[in-house]
């Protein structure tokens, strides 16, 4: 079921925003909390279900708003149990989410944008350019619209897009996820990924208690510039220097994502420089096997190199793990999400 109306969504509004809605329609102030209950605890999909609001209040709401809901339009299932969900956006673009069950964990990887502006050389999403920001409702819709919603134990903002390039909506979605009026999740179940947009990262760390994951991929400036254009603007050394000002010794964690590229970033020199870069910062490194994308000049490191790299970092005191590749056969694995073929061609300036 997908709500067709073009009216704005109530779903995805924070309690503060719902209070503004209530005030603008001259509803009693407690109506905001009632709406939040229906939206985030009772999973209502229609304003008519808000039965503890007066008929008049419901009519006023319906005149201006809808709850908002978008069903997934396709799902693919991997041999390893991973599922990739396809969702249309309100604006007619497309996004993907990956559901990854693993023993006693069930993680959902959500998108924060349709497409991406960041242009990382190794990422499939980058190849479709940028289509649109997702609203907080569209971000959360990926969570509540899948049949595995009740099984979810963890949420990672590592799907399509750079979350910190859509900070306001990401923060609103996190507020709803972690607040008592919303889904009431612990922030320690949620990780937000970034390639290191420093000003937005500082704001995120100020306003959220969720974990942070930073895409590092090489400690060397010149190498990272070739892989990740963001390095031309925000250097990884400056990102790490900023992180060293924050406390990651308690509940909140910072981790670094590191895709292993053969003979590019998998050498002993890289281990040494990583240790130097991260010196003094309580963190962990997740090594990721590279999933080749069409036309890429990059190769994945072989398994021996991955394991040696992991061991070398652990020996130097940096907790390092290798992330299991999941959903590779359905292009749900890290760096493979793309809806390029589904978006209608737009007029471009080139």
């Amino acid at each position: 079921m997908t709500t067709p109306s073009i009216k704005p969504w109530l779903y995805g509004k924070t309690l503060g925003e719902l209070k503004e809605v209530a005030a603008s329609l001259a509803l009693p102030s407690f109506a905001a909390k009632q709406m939040a209950d229906w939206l985030y605890k009772k999973h209502a999909t229609d304003i008519d279900q808000f039965t503890n609001l007066s008929v008049k209040a419901r009519e006023a709401l319906k005149e201006h708003y809808q709850v908002g809901f978008i069903s997934s339009s396709n799902v693919q299932t991997s041999v390893d149990g991973t599922k990739k969900y396809l969702f249309p956006t309100v604006g007619g673009k497309f996004i993907e989410s990956a559901y990854i069950p693993d023993k006693d964990r069930a993680t959902l990887c959500v998108s924060s944008q349709s497409g991406c502006k960041m242009g990382c050389l190794f990422c499939m999403t980058a190849k479709q350019g940028f289509q649109s920001q997702l609203s907080a409702g569209e971000i959360l819709n990926q969570v509540r619209a899948i049949p595995e919603f009740d099984k979810l134990t963890n949420l990672v903002y590592m799907g399509m897009g750079e979350p910190l390039d859509n900070l306001a909506n990401v923060l609103a979605s996190l507020d709803i996820l972690t607040s008592d009026y919303g889904y009431g999740w612990s922030p320690s179940r949620i990780t937000v990924s970034t390639i290191g947009v420093i000003p937005a990262m500082k704001e995120f760390l100020t306003k959220s208690k969720c974990h942070l994951a930073v895409s590092l991929h090489t400690p060397f400036d010149e190498e990272r510039r070739k892989l990740m254009p963001i390095q031309n603007v925000y250097k990884i050394k400056d990102v790490v220097e900023e992180l060293k000002r924050w406390d990651f010794t308690k509940q909140r964690r910072v981790s670094f994502e590191y895709i292993m590229f053969k003979e590019l970033n998998d050498t002993a020199v890289h281990v040494k420089e990583l240790v130097k870069l991260l010196n003094g910062l309580k963190c962990r490194i997740n090594l990721i096997r590279f999933h080749p994308i069409p036309g890429t000049p990059l190769l994945g490191s072989d398994e021996n190199a991955v394991q040696s790299f992991k061991q070398a970092l652990n020996d130097k005191g940096i907790v390092t793990t290798v992330r299991a590749s999941r959903g590779q056969d359905i292009y749900a694995a890290c760096g493979l999400l793309s809806t390029k073929g589904l978006n209608k061609p737009e007029e471009q300036d080139f």
Binding site: G115, C116, K117, M118, G119, L121, A126, K127, Q128, G129, F130, E162, D165, V197, P199, D221, R225, K226, P229, I230, Q231, N232, V233, K235, G295, P297, L298, E347, Q348, D349, F350
Partner: protein, 221 residues
């Protein structure tokens, strides 16, 4: 000119704001620092508006600092920037970024306001020996074309994706590069513009044998 009320930013007086295309402006203001051609600044009008990044679009020896921007109708900042007049104030961060030009031969590829860092590089004397490939949907999207057209020692190619005009390649910038038989393999490529262009051009160059190490991209966000 003083350190401003916006933390860490310089307060600068606007000296000029020229319309250079449909909804595109070349905004100039007092220059409080040295910079390298190709660097960026953050800019805002007050503490309530989050600063946005802009490539510097003036030369290192120009008396004023300039940016090239187009108005995003739903944006918080650019509609207000478009209204700025001489004597108004704005707030500017120190320069940063490493999309830096050099005097070596290179290929510059730009669309839209992505030409801004190349204006800075050219005005800083780094245009000699360069090939600039500029893409636009319409003729009025070739910002600063007169300047580049007259630039001694710079080869200038314009690609018009919709329409035709004398002396201009008819088609997309990617079609021009794809059909070109003289793509230098050992020169640096600097790409700046919308993310899809940057990615498509980068893939195209790699498929033609340009090492990815020779391709530098600047992104807009």
């Amino acid at each position: 000119m003083n350190h401003s009320e916006v933390s860490g930013m310089f307060k600068c007086r606007v000296v000029d704001n020229q319309v250079v295309g449909p909804a595109a402006y070349y905004l100039s203001f007092e220059r409080p620092f040295e910079f390298e051609a190709g660097q960026v600044i953050s800019l805002t009008l007050d503490e309530q508006i989050p600063p946005r990044l802009y490539s510097i679009a003036s030369g290192v020896d120009d008396p004023a600092l300039s940016i090239l921007f187009d108005v995003k109708p739903d944006g918080l900042l650019t509609p207000q920037l478009a209204k700025l007049q001489k004597g108004d104030w704005l707030f500017v961060s120190p320069p940063y970024g490493s999309f830096i030009g050099s005097s070596e031969p290179a290929v510059w590829v730009a669309t839209g306001t992505g030409v801004a860092p190349f204006i800075s590089m050219a005005r800083s004397g780094l245009g000699i020996g360069k090939l600039l490939v500029q893409g636009a949907r319409a003729m009025d999207g070739f910002y600063f074309s007169d300047y580049f057209f007259d630039y001694e020692g710079l080869e200038y190619v314009r690609c018009l994706s919709s329409g035709a005009a004398a002396g201009i390649y008819e088609g997309r910038l990617t079609s021009y590069l794809s059909g070109s038989t003289s793509i230098p393999l050992n020169e640096k490529y600097y790409l700046c513009g919308n993310p899809l262009m940057v990615n498509e051009v980068r893939d195209l160059l790699i498929s033609k044998g340009v090492p990815f190490e020779n391709i530098l991209s600047e992104i807009f966000f």
